[in-house]
Amino acid sequence: MAVTVVFKCMESDRSESRLLVAEVLNGNSAVFKILIERYQKLVSHVVFRMVANRSDREDICQEVFIKVYQNLAGFHFESKLSTWVAQIAYNACINHLEKKRLPLLDDLHQEENALEKYPSDAATPDNYAERQDITTRLRSEIDKLPVHFRAIVTMYHLDEMSYEEIAEATGMPLGTVKSYLFRGRKLLKDRLSEKYRLEDIWQ
């Protein structure tokens, strides 16, 4: 059954999503597995980037899909299904962080302060191996960004979401999304130029 549904609707992504959702709502809950497989990358990107605690991540991802299932009847394709799933994932992470009383840095002023305190060990690495692995180093720098920055750069770069889609998923104004994205990347670039000599990068 699930397989025929998939074959039936190869024309466009959106109409395919519509058919899959309709199937699930008609009681064919096995089709929901296709939706999980389709969006588990997106959900894991958002959750893994926003939640530092490894043991919580998988559980949150599961809860996201349970919420998707429970609220599917209320989704009427006002946005793309992927945007809606990303929104549920983002909100689940924010709720989790709030419950754990981890700093969210919601207002901009606080965010600015956090950036000043943003850890930077300006010492240039003299270790050859360390110099080699710029990308690994940068990944750990990404993890040090404030949580909203991490969410936005991830949605933009890994999930290819537009500014508008990110604004919808996070509930932030479009201008804030753009500003966080640009500032987040600039911050990473600054860290990179602090830590590495130009010739390490310039190859």
Partner: protein, 170 residues
Amino acid sequence: MAVRHLTDEQIQRYLDGDMSRDSDVAYHLQHCLACQQQLELYRKVYESLQQDVGFELAPGFAESVMTRLAAASEKSSRTSLVGLILLVFGTIALAGLALYFFEVKALTEILASLSAFGAEFGSSFVESLRSATASLGVSMDIMLSTGLILLTFAVIDRILVRYRGSHYCL
């Protein structure tokens, strides 16, 4: 004349593809070493942001979610059954009490005017309820409060099912 370098935003937008058709930016990048170096730094940043590494969920993730969903829906169908039972018993208890407190004769007359069967049913129902209550020795207060509590539970249950979906017990 002082050289005006590209801003961070211009370089980022160039890499995003927003400004690739802007010939001024492209021209500047061709001729300015400082901006080329900035561009190169940003390229590294973009590369690492696009690396899809370290996001692996446990194998069988989808199955685990499906198992959790199946368990939840089983639980919820049990809860709806409980809700239904509460509703039925609550209504019967309250209907019985209403009949008892109001003028029994007046009610049986109304039922009688509807049909002969109604009269028979009405009076026999009231009588059996009265005799059952009397034989059990249950006070009317207890009956009334039990009926109300059952009905309240039933109503809450219905509301939860309606507004939070059929799997609210999760």
